[in-house]
């Protein structure tokens, strides 16, 4: 495997780590208005308070890593998706500070709850729109974005935006099943079932629409003999979905979360099949956007040594805060 492709896989891993890790804590923000004020909301927030910052760091790695490994792609994608990216960043401000501010001002707790929920919802929606806008294609001339600043807006990007909101709500509710008990857990089971159903519908809708956006996507999915491999992806989604609903039915506490991670992994694999070997779909390939080998090798040394270390102390931190959140608080 050559260096640019290897780096594409490393970045895909960073994006996946971000989506599943920040996905569940953004999901908790999305579900927040549905939870009872007081203990339920406190517990939900406390279940992610010690780890949200680490989760969001993967987003910084995604942005910084894209600039470092594929500067041309970064230079084209960011201006093209200007509005949704700025919206996401501002929304993350509201939601991030709410973790601390909420506990400092009882009189205005309602405002920071709103800020946490609204920020999570908008950040997620903007991320989904970003994905859709990327998939539907970006107009490029030379080494720069050549479209207007509303190009990202389309029915398809709104669909992906809404889909991601439901998907993160799925991750958030299954996380709560794992981390809580009693009334809050019972609620989480209900939300998980509903979010699961809508997520499957959304995955199906996006999957059906995608191959028809670009001829290349269609080819990558349905050309013989590719189809022998690609057909496994929707089949596995069906299997994972069935297992997911079964696990909810049997009231398993950890399995629903793990299976929803599996659904995200399969969706990500599906996206990879559609896009590869491009990095700006339909416009720029991984090879063309890649930074010079000198940059990629320098970072590879760091990534190979540091990512496993990062993963191990992240795992340690999750282990320290393992188990049900219960009634103890962190603030």
């Amino acid at each position: 495997m050559d260096l640019p492709v290897l780096w594409a896989f490393i970045l895909a891993f960073a994006v996946f780590a971000y989506v599943v890790l920040d996905g569940f804590d953004l999901g908790i923000g999305i579900l927040f208005p549905l939870l009872r004020r007081g203990q339920q909301r406190d517990q939900a927030m406390n279940s992610v308070a010690p780890v949200w910052d680490g989760n969001e760091t993967w987003l910084v790695l995604g942005g910084g890593g894209l600039m470092a490994a594929f500067p041309l792609a970064y230079a084209i994608i960011m201006p093209a998706l200007y509005a949704p990216i700025i919206a996401m960043l501002l929304a993350l401000v509201f939601r991030g500070v709410a973790f601390e501010f909420r506990w400092r001002d009882k009189a205005h707790e309602w405002f920071w709850d709103l800020s946490f929920a609204g920020g999570s919802l908008l950040a997620t929606f903007a991320q989904g729109v970003t994905l859709g806008a990327l998939l539907q294609g970006i107009s490029v001339e030379g080494r720069a974005y050549a479209g207007g600043w509303w190009d990202w807006l389309s029915p398809f990007s709104l669909l992906t935006g809404a889909s991601l909101v439901v998907g993160y709500a799925l991750l958030g509710s299954t996380w709560l099943i794992m981390k809580t008990e009693g009334a809050l857990q019972a609620r989480a089971f209900r939300y998980a079932r509903l979010a699961g159903i809508i997520t499957i519908v959304c995955v199906a809708a996006v999957s059906l629409a995608t191959p028809f956006l670009e001829e290349a996507y269609y080819e990558r999915w349905f050309a013989w003999p590719h189809v022998l491999f690609t057909a496994q992806v929707p089949l596995l989604v069906v299997v994972a979905a069935a297992a997911y609903f079964f696990s909810l039915h049997r009231r398993y506490e950890r399995l629903p979360f793990l299976l929803s991670l599996g659904l995200f992994a399969l969706s990500m694999l599906g996206l990879g099949i559609s896009i590869f070997p491009d990095i700006v779909p339909g416009a720029v390939t991984i090879e063309k956007a890649a930074a010079p080998d000198e940059s990629l090798i320098f970072m590879l040394v760091g990534a190979v040594v540091l990512i496993p270390i990062v993963l191990s102390y992240t795992a340690y931190s999750y282990w320290v805060f393992r188990g049900k959140v219960g009634e103890e608080g962190y603030h």
Partner: protein
Amino acid sequence: MFDSFDALILARFQFAFTVSFHFIFPALTIGLASYLAVLEGLWLWTGRSVYLDLFHYWVKIFAINFAMGVVSGIVLSYQFGTNWSVFSDLAGPVVGPLMAYEVLTAFFLEAGFLGIMLFGLTRVGKGLHFTATLAVALGTLLSSFWILAANSWMQTPAGHVMNEVGQFVPQDWWQIIFTASFPYRLVHTVLGSYLTTALVVGAVGAWHLLRNRNNEGSRVMFAMAMGMLIVTAPIQIFVGDQHGLNTLEHQPVKIMAMEGHFESHPDGAPLYLFGLPDQEAGTMRYALAIPNLGSLILKHSLTAPMDGLDTVSREDWPPVAIVFWSFRIMVGLGMLMLTLGAVALLARMRGKLYDWPLLHRFAIVMGPAGFVAVIAGWVTTEVGRQPYTIYGLLRTADSVSPLDAPAVAASLIAFIVVYFAVFSVGVWYILRLMAHAPAPHESGLENDTTPIRTAGTTPVAAIAPDRTLGAEHRGE
């Protein structure tokens, strides 16, 4: 209605705004993380509970400040692309990996151990908790290392070649990281953070000493802060001078702007104490100057000749007035910090450190001085680099994204409104925490029992959760 010039100005203003706003938080985070590590270390070493109380006192402030630093920092990792896409494309192969190393070595370390540092003392025990605090402090320092390496490369680029599409291709990473200005910038910036923190801690200690000079926590934090100040301020002034000499060697035009030297001085340059630089006319109005002192400071000779901006093509001039004045603000505040440290030292020798209200008032006034000095220094070095993003190689006007002015204007307004609203509230919460005096058995974040705590997470709820909830939230 809008032309590309407007989009450039707006993009620059937006970036300057978000970067400067962001810088305020790490300026305190870096120093406070080290201070917290020292406090916890002293607690473990001496067993004196006052150090643990102070740790708990400051860790609550640290948590709010850190959260604001994180969310304002995430913005930046994307704004390089949204606002400076051409710069990102061309310089990404050099600057990008440095920032990737910052994420991998620093941000993950801070974030990974922050949870344990804030909430984990009872879960992991003292030794591991201290390790977590040290890891967070180390993370903040590593972060400074990498981001200042990137910034220094943009100031004094080295170690690269250009490829056929105009990209900067790394050749020698050692040269790229350790550029000519990097060691000076790194030491100067980290010391700036330490001074900022010492001034904040000192002001809070002084505020509470004015009310109760016998509070042990106030006494300890004030003494530590003043001790830090008297040691660090002179070192910082020396380092700043060395940094200036380095800039004279590698970025002489920036020094001309800092000094307001529009004209060359073949027989020794003056030091302007005051003046209104007139960029159009290329002259200093209402100048108040000490003859030949400029040459003495920068060249260590009264009569050393110094070139002025008249030797430089006008299109290469930075905005002189901004650089001239931001530099003076920074230096002036530095002198005041030294004065405060000296007065505190005098008070200590006379045994009046804790009961000299005038000293305490002085320390309170100086509380925010570090932030102002850090931002002023940042403006000096960044605006002094203009009109280039990569000094001498890539112009700011050629770095900008192909954006429409209305898009940048709309997001600029959004940033200004959101940042002022959200971060003012955050600062208000910090000030409210500072307003209460450090108490024996100060509560930490894990078992915070102040009235602002929610009912749902108190032990009372553990005994009868439904009753507590029902009483508080019957409406639902």
